[in-house]
Amino acid sequence: MKRPIRVVMAKAGLDGHDRGVKVVARALRDAGMEVIYTGVHQTPEQVVETALQEDADAIGLSLLSGAHNYLFPRVAELMKERGMDDVLLFGGGIIPEDDIVALRAHGVERIFQPGASLDEITAYVREAVAKRRGQPA
């Protein structure tokens, strides 16, 4: 039997903008996933530790503070160090197009910008996790 997808939704750094992350967390939960929300002001280490403890399939990181070019690569790096190659890293927030290209190279698979729909995000997480598990979505 397929176990439900487990997602850690996270806010890293000092950023307090949490409207988007909570709406997405709620939508993923309503879509049948198990969602753990870290709350704001987490260090990258805390985010990765939570994902390990919770045996998460995915980490969704939200950033609207402009600190994405430091925090996303740092989370990706820590995931690599802890051998979490099977865990999906995606994100969302106020992140300019040019930065997204660079962050993708760091292993952030997908970044949703303002205006993305909840259906789009939910479908993406379902498919991307299934792909990693080698299952049909």
Binding site: G16, D18, R26, S65, A67, P96
Partner: protein
């Protein structure tokens, strides 16, 4: 003074019959030609009828419910002549990069006609951390200006006439510490505290409710606010020691009614704590100011501002009967809704901002910030800020709306909405008073959860296209959208700021610093008066982070319960 008593009077039968007759014809017409939507509602989802008449205002008594401008209950404005006497303060919120960068932006804004300054601090400063704190990495100067000590404050306001310009500082947890640095900077230039006018946001309650820039738990944070009330009323009499803010509550996803209710109930909680601490309501309540969001729904927003003044006056009168009439006045700043701006088709934002600004003016705001079209990408460029300021100037000088006071009073729809706002407030007031007040409500997560529900509901309405956002769920353009110029923050800012702190620590008078810090520690431990200690710490070049650490050691820290 009767509290909304007038509204319970029965409606006269005559006009009702006339309206019912009209409604029958209306329904017949709709049966033939269906309306555009199944259900009409405001942005906050209050139902809207096809027509409003006098019947929708049963018992409406202009004398009781509106008063005249400058008279109880101030629905029509807090001053008799309003914008005929003096236009609202055009106050553009600014701050980015280093103190030098922001000083240059302030100077530019003053040269282009702003009439008040408003400082945006960066995330580390807002969270009470110095630039060299490990958690500040990547954040220095990004969302505002980095201010770690008096060294930065001197540069930030260099050559700006502090005795002539009022300065607003948007900071909360460490508000008193940063205010003390401003006072110390003025003192060095020989400007007496009595001549300084301005505002510190200093509204801790909405941090737990919405904005999340807290440093200590709720109750000690309230004590810090009361401490600033005491000091301000005594030493800096022209200063507003709190700006009770609905802005962040709304931006976090609340409805207009929730924004109004939670903000005014926060305000009433501050007053209660001040009075309980032995302060005279007549002394400190006149220094309370407010700050509201102004969103897309034109009439709902105007109604919100008018209702806010009326409710504040009625509640303050009912609870405290202050002898000083100024304690009843809700003076407010407003900012257009950042959350309403779209990254897609960004030039549409100019139009949104203009409509929102017009609503704030028709609602009788005392001060206004207009957002820039590029703010969904980054902090605004100089060109974008100028256009936002010009928008206010066009409304002020060309539209004619500022030539008479409260021009929309008496509109059936607007007065109905104003009443609905007040009813919505009363529901939350009874609920939260029943919990023992706002501190208790915040500790149990009540307003936080109400906002989460509202924001999720709104997002669903957007997904279902019940609420239209042009360029997002209707009139979408397939292309990636225009490229507009975006302000970039030089990564060097962080390195330079860290170097400046190191220099400050190395060159300050160690003995004086130690003495000032010891005094602060002792006062915090004894729950004594803190503001004089903060001022001495500022003079002694203590950093924001060092002082906040003392507070955390004395009062503990707050962690996000993460309601969703």
């Amino acid at each position: 003074m009767p509290l909304n008593g007038a509204r319970s009077a029965p409606a006269k039968p005559g006009p009702n019959a006339r309206k019912n007759e009209w409604l029958a014809r209306y329904h017949a017409a709709v049966a033939k030609h269906p309306e555009r939507k199944q259900r009409f509602s405001t942005l906050s989802d209050l139902p809207i009828d096809p027509l409003y008449t006098a019947d929708d205002l049963p018992g409406f008594d202009p004398e009781q419910d509106l008063g005249l401008p400058g008279e109880f209950p101030y629905t029509r404005g807090v001053y008799p002549s309003m914008y005929r006497g003096r236009l609202w303060t055009m106050r553009q919120f600014a701050g980015f990069g280093s103190a030098e960068d922001t000083n240059a932006r302030f100077t530019y804004l003053l040269a282009h006609g702003v009439t008040g300054l408003s400082t945006a601090f960066d995330m580390p400063t807002l969270m009470g951390r110095d630039a060299d704190d490990p958690l500040s990495r990547g954040e220095v100067g990004r969302e505002g200006v980095a201010v770690s000590s008096l060294a930065d404050m001197r540069i930030l306001f260099d050559a700006i006439p502090l005795e002539a310009v009022t300065t607003s500082m948007t900071i909360n947890g460490p508000a008193s510490i940063v205010w003390a640095m401003y006072l110390a900077a003025a003192e060095e230039r020989g400007i007496p505290f009595g001549m300084l006018g301005g505002t510190i946001q200093n509204d801790c309650l909405k941090e737990y409710i919405a904005q999340r820039e807290w440093i200590v738990p709720v109750k000690p944070a309230m004590e810090l606010v009361v401490d600033s009330f005491r000091y301000g009323a005594r030493e800096v009499p022209k200063w507003n020691t709190v700006s009770i803010s609905g802005y962040h509550i709304r931006e976090a996803g609340s409805t207009a009614v929730q924004e109004l209710a939670f903000t005014l109930l926060d305000g009433l909680e501050y007053v209660k704590w001040g009075v309980d601490a032995g302060l005279d309501v007549n002394d400190f309540a006149p220094h309370l100011s407010f700050f509201f969001d102004v969103h897309n729904d034109f009439f709902e927003e105007i109604a919100k501002f008018r209702a806010a003044r009326r409710i504040w006056a009625r509640e303050m009168e009912r609870r405290y009967h202050p002898a000083n009439e100024k304690a009843l006045l809700m003076r407010t700043h407003a900012q257009t809704a950042g959350v309403s701006l779209t990254a897609q088709q960004p030039y549409n934002n100019v139009v949104r901002v203009a409509l929102q600004a017009l609503a704030a003016v028709l609602g009788g705001t005392n001060s206004l910030h207009t957002n820039s079209l590029d703010e969904t990408y980054a902090l605004p460029t100089e060109e974008a800020v100028t256009l936002a300021l010009r928008t206010q100037q066009v409304i002020a000088h060309e539209s004619g709306v500022s030539e008479t006071v409260d021009p929309l009073a008496g509109s059936y729809y607007l007065e109905h909405l104003t009443n609905e706002m007040e009813k919505g407030f009363e529901k939350y007031r009874d609920e939260i008073d029943g919990m023992g007040g706002m501190v208790a409500a915040v500790e149990r997560g009540y307003p936080q959860r109400e906002i989460v529900e509202a924001s999720f509901h709104f997002q669903q309405q957007v997904e279902e296209r019940e609420k239209v956002i042009v360029g997002i769920n209707k009139y979408v353009e397939a292309t990636a959208g225009e490229k507009i110029p975006v302000l970039a923050i030089d990564p060097e800012v962080e390195r330079k700021q860290i170097a400046r702190i190191a220099e400050t620590r190395a060159t300050r008078d160690g003995g004086r610093w130690r003495e000032a810090m010891d005094r602060l520690r002792a006062q915090a431990k004894a729950r004594g008066e803190l503001m004089p200690a903060f001022v001495e710490c500022a003079r002694a070049m203590a950093t924001v982070g060092e002082q906040v650490q003392v507070l955390k050691e004395a009062y503990g820290e707050y962690h996000d319960p993460g309601y969703f």
